[in-house]
């Protein structure tokens, strides 16, 4: 703690707490949100494609996928 | 040369003829422009000085919105009835007839706005000397809007909710035109002279004429695929 006299001074940011922590908290929230969305999207994609595959197994080399599945 | 000009003129002539036969559609754009312009005094109050100050901006924003309103019609009908496919199969360069289509579109939707603008400006008590600058800025600027908008119209061709999407795509691109167009009148009234603005608009028009037909042609090929 070289710069700050106490934790409360740190959280107060010289009276600018709303501006500083408002910036940081929104940024942190957006980053967490983006990470959650990205990882969840991956999980969903894998599950959905697996379900599609199981519904219509492919013969080796077969590349057909029917529209009726959607 | 003649073979190049042939398809260009054919498209231009046909689109103008179609616009003439469907006059009502065209008048709607003009009516929209007039109505939007006339709404502003009700919003900001009848104070003459204030109206005079906002007049260039109001006319320009209204012209921009009217252009936007009519853009989706640029290729839609040809896309539906198959004419677009035939045009894309024409051996002539695609950017050429795209330019013809945009030009016809501007003559039909942009030019009436340019002509109506000075009259509407008088409702805002704009000084007579500035009317010429206003008209000239619109005459140079609205073709740029049509050219840029054509790219957006080609990209959103046949999409659900294409109209809103089109607005989102092209409005940021319209901002520089708006700045220089409305700025020209302000500069003239402010005494600095509008030459620089008008020259930049003219340069922008040449640049748009040189580049956007190619982007538009590529977008149309993608859209019919």
């Amino acid at each position: 703690m070289m710069e700050w006299e106490s934790w409360s001074a740190f959280w107060d940011m010289g009276g600018n707490a709303w501006f500083v922590w408002g910036s940081y908290s929104i940024t942190a929230m957006l980053i967490v949100l983006e990470l959650v969305l990205v990882l969840r999207r991956r999980k969903e994609t894998v599950l959905r494609l697996l379900r599609l595959r199981r519904a219509a197994p492919y013969a080796t080399g077969g590349q057909r996928m029917n529209e009726e599945m959607f | 040369m003649n073979s190049l000009l042939g398809p260009f003129l054919a498209v231009l002539r046909r689109d103008l003829m179609l616009a003439w036969r469907g006059r009502a559609d065209v008048l709607v754009t003009l009516a929209f422009f007039v109505v939007v312009v006339c709404l502003f005094p009700f919003g900001v109050g009848p104070e003459t000085n204030q109206l005079r100050a906002i007049a260039p901006g109001v006319l320009w924003v209204a012209a921009l919105l009217s252009t936007l309103l009519s853009l989706h019609r640029l290729f839609a009908q040809d896309h539906i009835d198959g004419t677009l496919e035939q045009l894309l199969l024409s051996p002539e360069p695609t950017p050429l007839w795209v330019t013809a289509k945009v030009m016809a579109h501007w003559i039909v939707t942009g030019l009436p706005l340019v002509i109506a603008a000075p009259g509407l400006a008088l409702l805002f008590d704009v000084e007579q000397g500035a009317l010429g600058v206003l008209t000239l800025s619109l005459a140079l600027g609205t073709p740029i809007l049509a050219l840029l908008g054509a790219v957006g119209a080609a990209l959103t061709l046949g999409l659900r909710g294409g109209g809103v999407l089109l607005a989102l795509l092209v409005l940021p691109l319209f901002v520089p035109v708006l700045i220089f167009g409305a700025g020209a009148v302000d500069a003239h009234l402010g005494g600095t002279g509008a030459d620089a603005h008008l020259l930049l608009l003219a340069g922008g028009l040449l640049g748009a004429l040189a580049l956007t037909p190619f982007a538009c042609a590529a977008a149309l090929r993608i859209a019919v695929e």
Binding site: G62, Q63, R64, M65, N66, E67, F70 | S3, G6, P7, L9, A10, V11, R14, M17, L18, R21, G22, Q77, D78, I80, D81, G82, T83, E85, Q86, L87, L88, L89, S90, P91, E92, P93, W97, V224, E225
Partner: protein, 208 residues
């Protein structure tokens, strides 16, 4: 003259066909057959250069059509599903525009003659919106009489909505075009009265 090399077509999620190769010589007529949704129209559009194949290429007179688009399209006439007729124009205006825009620029009298020959002499000055579906299609087909200098004709269901006499006349025109050294590729559901039945490419056999 026309070579399709190892074409593959992916539509949305479905691989319609792949490994489709075919060479066509001058004077040949080819009928693309197969049930609905097998990719007949997609194949025609790929051959014309309107759509890009997922794989493979189309070669016209030894040149890749995508590298030499203008030359290829100067020699191609494609009539698709939609008739390319604007409702507000008359058949004559529509026909003239179609020819002018594609760089043919025939004389007005030839256009009138072509329309009369296809049986639209009486409707020449009516706006297209009052025409029947068959009549609209016929305006498009009138271009065949004005485009005999284009060797490659690609026709999507040209016989639809035509009466018996018109079908016979069209079949004769197509045969004549082939005899003159042209190439015709078409799809059709009905048996057209060709003197010499065309070669058949059944897409159902190539389909994945």
């Amino acid at each position: 003259m026309l070579e399709a090399n190892d074409l593959a077509c992916l539509k949305g999620d479905r691989l319609l066909f792949r490994g489709l190769s075919r060479r066509m010589a001058s004077g040949e007529m080819l009928r693309i057959a197969g049930p609905n949704g097998v990719g007949k129209t997609s194949l025609l559009r790929i051959l014309c250069g309107l759509a890009m194949p997922e794989y493979g290429n189309v070669v016209w007179k030894g040149k890749d059509t995508r590298r030499d688009r203008e030359h290829f399209h100067r020699e191609l006439l494609y009539l698709g599903h939609s008739a390319a007729q604007n409702d507000l124009l008359t058949p004559l205006e529509n026909l003239r525009f179609a020819c002018d825009a594609s760089g043919d620029a025939p004389a007005e009298a030839d256009c009138v003659a072509a329309l009369e020959r296809i049986g639209l002499g009486a409707q020449i000055d009516l706006p297209a919106r009052v025409l029947s579906q068959g009549q609209r299609r016929r305006v498009g087909l009138a271009r065949l009489f004005l485009s005999s200098s284009r060797p490659l004709w690609v026709l999507d269901e040209p016989f639809t909505a035509l009466d018996v006499a018109a079908v016979a006349d069209l079949a004769a025109t197509l045969s004549r075009h082939c005899e003159a050294g042209g190439v015709v590729i078409l799809t059709t559901h009905q048996d057209a009265p060709f003197d010499k039945p065309p070669a058949v490419l059944d897409l159902a056999e190539v389909a994945c």
